[in-house]
């Protein structure tokens, strides 16, 4: 029986016949990116207001106010849309967090999808914060939606068929950051493909696990690998290194 995978990697097959992996980002990095974006928007609004007040001296205060209101409106609604369409799916906040908005097929976010997902941002923002007259909300609907879908999609993502992925590779996935150097050692039996892959994943992710966790993972191979926990872990790492380098 094929077990459903526990990871969040989504694989998409491109027309070229290769399978790429998309790593959807969860609510926490997205929330950070959103906070950063809000800070940027606030800064933009401040600068535009200053600019507007300077210019109002020339063209009259009321026309200046009109222009200012228009600009504020454009910034508030357009910041996200313009960032996603013209900056490769990244607003400044997302760029700083290393995130990116793409369609679920791996393709670029176009105008329709960007507009749709940002207008529905209003629905995701509910419940609104009453004191701010509809500008800020608590994002409870969006958060619930993220937690209930496989790919951490909020309501706007579901309707627009987009997903927020990590743009850069995870640079912790490398066996070279272990404390002790590993001497590769051949396994006692010939390994199948899945087994080779398992050992290689083990050594690649070993740096991110505690010793107790590593020991727990190799405990099912107790008879083959050795008697003490430390011995088993070292042996498993050695086999992983052998597989990786061969």
């Amino acid at each position: 029986m094929i077990q459903p995978k526990l990871d969040t990697l989504q694989s998409v097959e491109l027309a070229e016949g290769v399978q790429v992996l998309l790593r959807p980002a969860g609510p926490a990095p997205r929330a950070m990116a959103l906070l950063l974006d809000l800070v940027f928007i606030a800064v933009l609004i401040l600068l535009t207001s200053l600019f507007g007040m300077l210019v109002a001296g020339w063209i009259g205060i009321e026309t200046g106010m009109g222009m200012l209101t228009l600009l504020l409106f454009t910034i508030y609604w357009g910041y996200f849309i313009i960032g996603e369409v013209f900056r490769n799916g990244q607003t400044y906040g997302k760029k700083l967090m290393g995130l990116r908005v793409v369609r679920t097929s791996g393709a670029r976010v176009g105008w329709g999808a960007a507009v749709m997902r940002n207008l529905i941002r209003f629905a995701d923002m509910m419940p609104l914060w009453p004191q701010t007259a509809g500008w800020f909300g608590f994002y409870l609907f969006g958060l619930t939606s993220c937690l209930c879908t496989r790919r951490f999609q909020r309501l706007g993502d579901l309707v627009a068929d987009t997903v927020v992925i990590y743009a850069k590779a995870d640079d912790r996935s490398d066996g070279s950051r272990l404390r002790e150097p590993i001497v590769p050692q051949a396994p006692p039996v010939v390994l199948t493909r899945e087994e080779q892959q398992a050992f290689m994943h083990f050594i690649e992710r070993a740096a991110t696990w505690s010793d107790a966790r590593k020991a727990e993972m190799v405990s099912s191979l107790a008879e083959v690998l050795g008697t003490t926990d430390h011995e088993r872990v070292t042996r498993a790492l050695a086999i992983g290194a052998w597989v990786r380098d061969s």
Partner: protein, 321 residues
Amino acid sequence: MKRATFEEQNAPHWRELEVAVEAMDRRKEVSDAHKVPHLFRQVCGDLALAQHRMYGRRLCDRLNALVIGTFQHLQMAANHGAGAFLRTFGREFPQAVRRESRLVWLAFALFFVPFAAFLLAAHFEPKWIYAVLPPEMRNMMDQMYGADSQNEFIRDRFGSNFGMFGFYIFNNVGIEFRIFAGGVLFAVFGAWAIGYQGVFIGAMFGYVHAAGNVERLYTFASSHSSFELLGFTLAAAAGMRIGLGFALPGRLTRVAAMREAGKRALPILYGATAMISVAAVIEAFWSPSAAPPIFKYCVGVAGWCLFAAYFFFVGRNSDEA
């Protein structure tokens, strides 16, 4: 082949493509752009080999990111340009509205039934109007459209037509987006939002009928009325379309139903936003002007007739049933 050898042999290609993708990301000139598709196919092949031969997460992740990054740039952009604009407003928008005609009529009724009710209330039971409108609103209506109001009140308040334009865009498009978002959330909120607008605006109009200068109100409001009210109605219909997609998915999953509904609702939303923006232009620059009232009434009526003709007749072709 060992991983180290594989990396050594192919690293120059990867580096070349990475440089090109970086340049494309920054919208700069790419030298030898004609090589990019070739390099892309090569890197796709390398990624498939690396995955099959299990060369390790680091290598596979690097190639994975490179393929995705190039793919985003190599795709053809679907539509832009003047042709797209004509196509959207000449065909997609009216067709989309006709396809969702039941929801559009529902939103229409949700707005205009309370509106008409409050207009009637002005004659028969003004206490309903006083129940809905708070005193501040009544004062404002008195100042704007009261029997003895000054003519230039609105312009004085905002100082200039452009000032008003900015305010109207901000206010009305904001209302429109809120109506749309309300519709997305369970459709019922959208119905409530548009009904609320109908009640409130109806109460305002009714109040002026009961206690204000009716001519002033209609000379101001008639010209942009068709754009603005139909815009709100369509935004409500678009939002409810998506909300209903979630609530009544038919034979699709809820998510797929919402996605399909989104595709159908998007042209309606574009059109509604355009209409409300035009309404803001008219409201700011034409409506407060000193043109004779009969002229403004004619523009208003013409607006309604034109929209009726537009939605019933434009963009029909033989495929439509």
